[in-house]
Amino acid sequence: MAKAGLRVAGTEPGPRPEDKVLVEMYSAMLLARMVDERCWLLNRGGQAPFVISCQGQEGAQVGSVFAMDRERDWFVPYYRDLAVVLALGMTPEDIFRSTMGRTGDPNSGGRQMPSHFGSRKLRIVSQGSSVATQCLHAAGTALASKSRGEPVDTICYVGEGGTSQGDFHEALNFASVHRLPLVMVVENNSYAISVPQDLQMAVRDVAIRAEGYGIPGVVVDGQDVLAVYRATKEAADRARRGDGPTLLEAKTHRFTSHSSDDDQRAYRPEGEIEREAHEDALPRFRDELLDAGVLDADTAERIKAKILAEINTATEAAESAPYPKPEEALLNIYGDDPPSPDDLRGDPRGLPSPGDS
């Protein structure tokens, strides 16, 4: 059975994916970074009204998702987790269609803001915008898996700001009482929009709260992909064994402003952004793989070129995709006999539909 309390992970040796997988992980991180950068281009070009980024957090995201069973487990990401969903099988085109609100957006059919991920096929629970509500859904998917005796985990992601919500507490409490197969990952980038960690909580490591639920808490360097992988694997195995949830805190950085509506220079201390830029998991992991001879410069170049080509094709396809029809706003409210547009229109006598505001 697992010991409760706080541990700092990462330094000790542990399972390491085979070389092929290591390269996959690197590609996934690079893909996420480049897709994210393209979204910002679309935003500046006026094709995307809103962008919210994974940049800086790819290491924590890819390291953790690769430690799970991507064929069976449930995934409950939040809006930063572009690298998570790409690693699970969403495509750049899916992302761009969603970013521009076009048909074929698999997340929401153009209904939600970008980065509100969801896919039943990929067992990615659909997210809304309300911070931390997903923590309880994750406890619920884990409860269902456990009640059927399946060897299936749920992994949930939330920001350190989200830990202040009551739902975060209630989720850890419920999951620990019922020893649910849940890995709760806090991506601690030390900011909630403009609010720094010291105004968010009075502790250095939020993972210390694990002890208050009688479960293990682990702090890991989120910029160290393999350390995240090992820490997550250990937690996932423990959960699968029936030994209950783990609170895993990945220390990471937010390289961009909170979103395209924010300008972090207004509230970030002098020099902090520059300092953090030196702690980028992407080049760090690439160099590790180069040193280890798992990757060579040519391959790295080829990977990059391949991704760029894919992103360019995907951008064009998404740009040329149509918008949903106005009336599609009336679909998928209820499952049984969908109400007729006439019931649903603002006015029951069928006034001209708007489009003029």
Partner: protein, 342 residues
């Protein structure tokens, strides 16, 4: 609170059940029929719920299917949502409707919007049961009628049975429904209201259909829950004493409202009174009145009247103030006569 939570054994004629027994039997039959149905909430296990609605279920189906949760409504509903996404059919109990508010965000932002926001990829087959209503000395926080908050929310269904027959049949429909259903049970009706329920028969009453509880020609009265019974009593007295024929409609489902039945009755009688226990202003009764005023206007020959609870924060404890709050048959009769005299 006299009768609140205390378990009295009640006499019922053969073929009859109390409102409470009908809910129990619907719940048990669905758990028997479909093992993906689970029950979770505060005190629902060992104690069988403060009103004993879930009594015996944990013994029958075990602690995995009947879960005593921590004291946190947001987690009760939020966990139920997640479980519903992953193949279960949770029936969550909120101990009193007054305490559903900590779960408001999970119900309104999450359960109600899951199907829509995922463009139909996910849905939430979940029932949230909660006892509501007053008249049991439950005071401000054990007497509230909260249905209006949820009847405004697309993606939710809101059901309020008045009779044992409907309580069982509608609960069965709610559990089988692919979308989140709020199922409000009137706590004063639990043991007060008895009625025919076919023994050992598993039947469903469709959600979204009102019921003509009493045929009438001169006036339409719309009500639900305990008020439905008070309205029928008043209507009978109106017939006996004034020879005036009142039609009483049991709305049964508040979201979606049964527009056809409501408008048909309003057009037939031309006079409409809506009776409810919730705070008068901004309640479901306002929507019923607005619908009638908009779509049956040509046929109206009197103002669309409402008799609701007063706009005070909630039902007080002290008996005179509690009585003051809760509409009763005499007051309903007075409203009927006032409208009839128009």
């Amino acid at each position: 609170m006299a009768g609140l939570g205390t378990h009295k054994t009640v006499e019922t004629a053969p073929g009859q059940m109390t409102y409470l027994q009908a809910i129990q039997s619907g719940l048990r039959e669905e758990m028997e029929r479909d093992e993906s149905v689970i029950v979770l909430g505060e005190d629902v296990g060992a104690k069988g719920g403060v009103f004993k609605v879930t009594e015996g279920l944990q013994k029958l189906y075990g602690e995995t299917r009947v879960i005593d949760t921590p004291l946190a409504e947001s987690s009760i509903v939020g966990v139920a949502i997640g479980a519903a996404l992953n193949g279960l059919r949770p029936v969550a109990e909120i101990q009193f409707a007054d305490f559903i508010h900590p779960a408001f965000n999970q119900i309104v932002s999450e359960a109600a919007k899951m199907r829509y926001r995922s463009n139909g990829d996910f849905n939430v087959p979940m029932v949230v049961r909660a006892p509501f209503g007053g008249g049991v000395h439950g005071a401000l926080y054990h007497s509230q009628s909260v249905e209006a908050f949820f009847a405004h929310v697309p993606g939710l269904k809101v059901v309020v049975p008045a009779t044992p027959y409907d309580a069982k049949g509608l609960l069965i429909s709610a559990i089988r429904d692919p979308d989140p259903v709020l199922f409000f049970e009137h706590k004063k009706a639990y043991r007060l209201i008895k009625g025919d329920v076919p023994q050992g028969e598993n039947y469903a009453v469709p959600i979204g259909r009102a019921r003509i509880a009493r045929e009438g020609r001169h006036m339409s009265v719309f009500a639900y829950g305990l008020m439905l019974h008070y309205c029928v009593t008043a209507a009978d007295q109106m017939a006996a004493e004034d020879g005036y024929s009142v039609e009483v409609i049991d709305l049964r489902t508040l979201k979606p409202l049964d527009r056809d039945t409501i408008l048909a009755s309003a057009r037939k009688t031309g006079k409409v009174l809506v009776v409810y226990e919730a705070n008068r202003t901004g309640a479901v009764g306002a929507e019923v009145a607005a619908m009638v005023a908009e779509e049956a206007f040509e046929d109206l020959d009197g103002p669309v009247m409402r008799l609701g609870g007063p706009d005070v924060p909630a039902m007080p404890f002290s008996p005179p103030m509690e009585d003051f709050f809760l509409p009763g048959p005499a007051r309903i009769l007075a409203a009927m006569r006032q409208l009839a005299a128009y």
